[in-house]
Symmetry: C2
DNA sequence: TTGTATGCGTTATCAA
DNA sequence: TTGATAACGCATACAA
């Protein structure tokens, strides 16, 4: 097994031409060769431990069984399950995942895509969340967007039904008697931040309510959430409930409340978004919206594989349901407005 | 930008032959072409958005700029930072990471490696933790092990100094006055489980102590830790401190203690291992050992790149220091033995 | 310093 | 049904 066997070696052993061996070994074209010789070739391939050189194949076919997966940062807890779902779906189809982090940096994203484009990838799964940049990929490459959609709807995408999630949160709060509800929005240069903000306003409006305050958090982090919450609490009077743009912001909100001597949920109810791990172990356990991250990744990969197999078909846009997770951080306000 | 530009296009635009363009674009051979023409070629490449076809290059050079990264499960919180570190180091060198999960399944690992081997990868980073299986890769492929070492020491590896970490934990407990110390060990078919168990025994022995109880947890999960802790608490009398095999097991231990009406740390001190996210927000905040996951990944990738550049060099074995993180889950025993 | 020629391993096209 | 041939894009030995 010093030099890996080539298709020529297989052909020689099976006493056929390399082209015939190629046909026999490729499921697509196996029926173009007689069963008897095909069997001989397969046998020869096995005894030689032949495994096709993917570089040569890619060069010839201008594609590969590798998919590029681009995310902002793997350390953000929403991405591991997404990537895992992607990988599982890809593997079932014999594909592999090439992973890249961008840190949300447009230039880094561009570099990464350029590098990846040189790899003859079969397609891309883009889970980046900046709103402005659209991937500089040709129209011929298969792409599936995760957590984001194009206005035009010309690119396939998989997103959670965030709007429904935020509205469910708002409905819960209103049902519990809250009227003075504020929002700690995520960064407004991200699609998720904008989307949830809009849904928050819509949700309130459906009850004839207006927000008692909205502060945009500088990032989806605990620290930024903490700072935004400070600002909110300093400014608005008598907030009874805060809808945070995500779980991290909600945790920052916990800290700000504690610092001001406010109890959660007795004084202020708080909700998150995403249902990260260990939220059930926070004090208080955070009421939030569970996003089916794994399923999103899995579905995105399935969609991509579909598009690779059938590039002409219209771009599907999948919306996955979310789930309200009711825990301890929401209760009725002490003095209903 | 429909058809990606080839080196021929670049050469044409720069009015040179493709071979010259190749030389100019390759750092290795850039000095074999005059600075003026080189500049012209680089400029042409940029205007065309040229990125080399890696399939062609791999076919020619019999290698690629892609590295296989194999882990058990990305959803285990120790792996995202490791993979991120790997990716960062690889990217600095122009390499990409092909990611695969094995779920600790030996067969799946074998399949994955076989598939990856067909991709002309430049090397592998193996972060799997089963002790029995050794990767079925030829001696010619570059490999770096993460969190694990071979007995023979013939394969490069990067590991945290887990022994020192466990001993630091034991020392802390002994300093605080604990004498009746037990261990909830991780699965003994993993290298980490075995290693920490041994270090626990050594650490106690250094103080002339013997363990008051050792129960092996079926897995590195909260549930398994919970069950193991139940068994431990039912069996041994008067444990004052428990050293858990990792943070998840420690959290399971929390639950078991609570169920038995025991308070942590007043009745029983508990320690973890890994310093997962959000441990500081647990109740009580968990005293644990911080592993430099990102650095481990980064260093592993650096090592691999070194080996790729210089396959003949002896295999380095890097041990990274760990850090004791003292929080609230350890205190002095109520009644020192 | 630059150009020419060749081959890496595979598969698509054409001919037999 | 099978064989011959060419080409995918790049890097390198050799010639100029």
């Amino acid at each position: 097994m010093d030099k890996p066997a080539t298709i020529k070696d297989v052909a020689e052993l099976a006493r056929v031409h390399a082209a015939t061996a190629s046909r026999a070994l490729n499921p697509q074209t196996r029926d173009k060769v007689s069963p008897r010789t095909a069997a001989r070739i397969v046998e020869a391939a096995r005894t030689l431990g032949y495994s096709p050189n993917s570089a040569a194949r890619s060069l010839r076919t201008r594609t590969s069984s590798v998919v590029g997966v681009v995310i902002p940062d793997l350390r953000n807890p929403v991405f591991p399950p997404i990537v895992r779902g992607v990988e599982d779906a890809l593997r079932e189809a014999g594909y592999l995942a090439l992973l890249g982090n961008t840190d949300g940096d447009a230039e880094r994203e561009r570099d990464l895509l350029t590098t990846m484009r040189g790899q003859q990838l079969a397609g891309f799964i883009l889970a980046t969340s900046r709103r402005d940049t659209l991937p500089p990929l040709g129209p011929d490459v298969s792409v599936v967007l995760v957590n984001r959609r194009t206005e035009a709807g010309d690119i396939a995408s998989v997103v959670p039904d965030s709007g429904a999630g935020v509205r469910a949160v708002v409905n819960l709060l209103v049902e519990r008697g809250h009227r003075r509800i504020a929002h700690l929005a995520g960064p407004q240069d991200t699609s998720t931040g904008v989307e949830r903000h809009r849904a928050f306003l819509d949700g309130l409006a459906a009850h004839g309510l207006s927000p008692v305050g909205v502060v945009v958090s500088a990032a989806f982090t605990e620290q930024a959430g903490y700072e935004a919450a400070q600002e909110l609490l300093a400014g608005s009077a008598a907030v009874t409930a805060i809808v945070a743009g995500n779980d991290m912001i909600a945790l920052g909100c916990y800290r700000a409340l504690e610092e001001r001597g406010l109890r959660c949920p007795e004084d202020v109810s708080v909700t998150g978004f995403n249902d990260m791990p260990f939220l059930d172990k926070q004090r208080p356990a955070l009421t939030t919206v569970r996003i089916p991250h794994y399923d999103i990744g899995y579905e995105a990969a399935r969609l991509l594989l579909e598009r690779i197999a059938n590039p002409g078909a219209p771009a599907k846009r999948v919306v996955l349901p979310v789930q309200l997770i009711t825990r301890d951080s929401v209760t009725s306000p002490a003095s209903p407005a």
